[in-house]
């Protein structure tokens, strides 16, 4: 059914359609509207046989989710930013225990300094946590991905983070096609846990595993990730067939045929970029977009195929590794190992700095003009803001426009 609603409400409805048994939440912007709505559904009885717990911290939210999932219930929670970090220990516990929790991460920067706006530093900080991380480019994608996420998680036996850009998507009112309960009941049968706590068949879950088997446990966890690549594709195909949706998948290509340059983007920037790419096409510039949906597991093979013969790739990254470089770019490089594809990182859109069509436009022009000479470039630094500090503090100024990593490094050489 088509509805004009806030993304958060759409996700809440999607979650409710999946008939979770337990939902728990702790408030943190910009995730709040989602669980507020789910809580309301539970209270009104629209969502039956579901317990909604208001917990006292994200640490307890993930922990309640762990308990609930270990108890054999379909379980959902949501968080963002600091909340995700506060959960971190539980995040690893949940994946280690193979609990198919679905959690929305309404992506938001991590402080300090405290910042409530959107980027990807929270979810990507949990890159190695053993969770599947699925990114959404629109609210429709978010609605559909949440539904698919339950099925994927339960099939794979791992928890799934559905990462949707905070505010940009969560707070946007858009036209959403919400599947019917009948459709989802057909798609997602009642949860049959692989293992859970029951007095009928007692087991001890969560043993201490020493050096004699820990590597093998990890190997098998990694094997689940490998399985997940297949499951994501299968489930996406099934879902699309059932609903006619275009959402999901490992990655999605846009205008990739014969593109001179491809942009790899995660999240809501994809839509903005698509509009801009269409405009560029009118100028005769042929740019493809690879919307990376599944960051974990990383679809190396699908990525290699999506890039194909394209010689130039820019990864638009909304988070990076301090003291290191980009986060997506190294993965793409691994995917393209042995080719002469030129792959670079353009960092932009941190802490809510808007990425406009014009940002994309400039990035493309820059790339095609061969100005991306380094792997890592700060793309949307405001030199006025920056210099207002560095000039006074250190007598250093930075030029306008994108800043390569070497420029940053050079500025401290004489320090």
């Amino acid at each position: 059914m088509l509805r004009q609603i806030e993304g958060s409400l759409g996700v809440a409805q999607a979650v409710a359609l999946c008939r979770p048994g337990v939902v728990c939440a702790y408030p943190i912007s910009p995730q709040t509207h989602i669980v507020e709505n789910v809580g309301k559904f539970v209270k009104t009885g629209a969502l039956k046989d579901c317990d909604f717990l208001n917990v006292e911290s994200e640490f307890s939210a993930i922990s309640v989710a762990i308990g609930s999932a270990a108890g054999g219930c379909r379980t959902y929670t949501a968080t963002a930013s600091q909340g995700l970090l506060y959960m971190a220990e539980g995040i690893y516990s949940a994946s280690g225990l193979g609990l198919p929790i679905v959690m929305t991460v309404a992506s938001r920067a991590i402080g300090g300094p405290i910042n409530i706006w959107n980027d990807h530093s929270d979810s990507l900080s949990q890159r190695d946590s053993g969770w599947l991380q699925l990114f959404c480019e629109s609210n429709q994608d978010a609605v559909d991905t949440h539904i698919m996420a339950f099925k994927i998680a339960e099939k794979v036996g791992l928890p799934v983070m559905v990462c949707m850009d905070g505010f940009v998507l969560t707070h946007a009112f858009e036209r959403l096609d919400i599947p019917s309960q009948e459709q989802i009941d057909e798609f997602l049968p009642p949860y049959e846990p692989r293992e859970y706590l029951t007095t009928k068949e007692p087991v001890s879950i969560g043993a201490m595993v020493g050096p004699e088997a820990f590597t093998e446990v990890r190997f098998l966890q990694q094997r689940k990730m490998a399985k997940a690549l297949k499951v994501i594709e299968e489930v996406t195909a099934e879902y699309r067939k059932l609903t006619g949706s275009k959402s999901g998948g490992l990655l999605e290509c846009y205008n990739c045929e014969n593109a001179d340059l491809k942009l790899i983007i995660m999240g809501s920037t994809v839509g903005t970029a698509k509009d801009e790419i269409d405009r560029l096409k009118k100028e005769g510039i042929n740019v493809g977009i690879i919307s990376l949906k599944s960051f974990r597991p990383f679809p190396y093979e699908a990525m290699r195929q999506a890039i194909g013969d394209t010689k130039q790739v820019i990864c638009l990254e909304r988070a990076f590794s301090f003291g290191g470089r980009g986060i997506i770019c190294p993965e793409v490089k691994r995917a393209m190992e042995g080719t002469n594809c030129d792959i670079k990182t353009a960092v932009c859109g941190l802490g809510g700095r808007a990425i406009y069509g014009t940002t994309i436009n400039a990035m493309v022009k820059h790339a095609l003009a061969g100005k991306f000479t380094e792997e890592f470039t700060w793309f949307d630094v405001d030199s006025n803001v920056l210099n207002s500090y560095t000039k006074n503090a250190e007598g250093v100024t930075f030029p306008e426009g994108p800043l390569g990593a070497s420029q940053l490094e050079a500025s401290v050489k004489h320090a």
Partner: protein, 192 residues
């Protein structure tokens, strides 16, 4: 695609207005999008919200830099915020004020085509019917009257579906007052 930017202050229902605008458009079969300028602003702080109306899927999520319409719910913002920044030279502006546009935004009136700048005493209408300074519905109704991109009924319906009962009805009545006010002023040829 029509891009609308709404300016106001926290507590005046600016974000809601943008959402209702998108809902009204949706009800008429358009694609629409609304989103706030995200922040942690509290009551009284300047707030911006955006809306897009189009005939196909709206993919972009960038903030609106070049609006086709600017709605100013609080004229006290005029001196402090560049509310008309990036406004399409062929665009529209609607300002919540009892005073004529020529008096409130004389520069803008000169800049935009004639009949593209309107003032409407939306807060007065709201106080009459709702009893609270919530100018959202009359501002949207003014937009509908000024541009004909929406029907009054759609604006009314959007509020009534969001706030079923008395409050929705009061908003609908307020909207009608504003709608007629603009229509009347258009008939009068000038908004002055």
């Amino acid at each position: 695609m029509l891009q609308i930017r709404l300016h106001g202050r926290g507590g005046q229902g600016v974000v809601t207005a943008a959402e209702m605008l998108s809902l009204a458009a949706f009800l008429e079969g358009h694609f629409a999008q609304a989103f706030p300028s995200f922040g942690s602003e509290r009551t009284g702080a300047p707030v911006v919200a955006y809306a897009r109306i189009g005939e196909g899927e709206i993919r972009t999520h960038e903030p609106i830099q070049n609006p086709d319409v600017v709605i100013v719910q609080d004229k006290t913002l005029l001196g402090s915020v560049d509310v008309f920044g990036g406004l399409n030279p062929q665009g529209y502006a609607i300002i919540n004020s009892k005073d004529p546009a020529e008096k409130v935004v004389p520069e803008l009136v000169k800049m935009l085509p004639e009949g593209h700048v309107f003032t409407v005493p939306a807060t007065d209408f709201a106080m009459q019917k709702i009893g609270k300074p919530l100018p959202g519905a009359p501002m949207l109704a003014s937009l509908a009257a000024a541009t004909d991109i929406l029907k009054l009924e759609s604006v009314q319906k959007s509020f009534q579906s969001r706030y079923p009962g008395k409050i929705g009805d009061a908003n609908a009545e307020t909207a009608a007052l504003a709608y007629n006010y603009i229509k009347d002023s258009k008939k009068g040829g000038s908004n002055a």
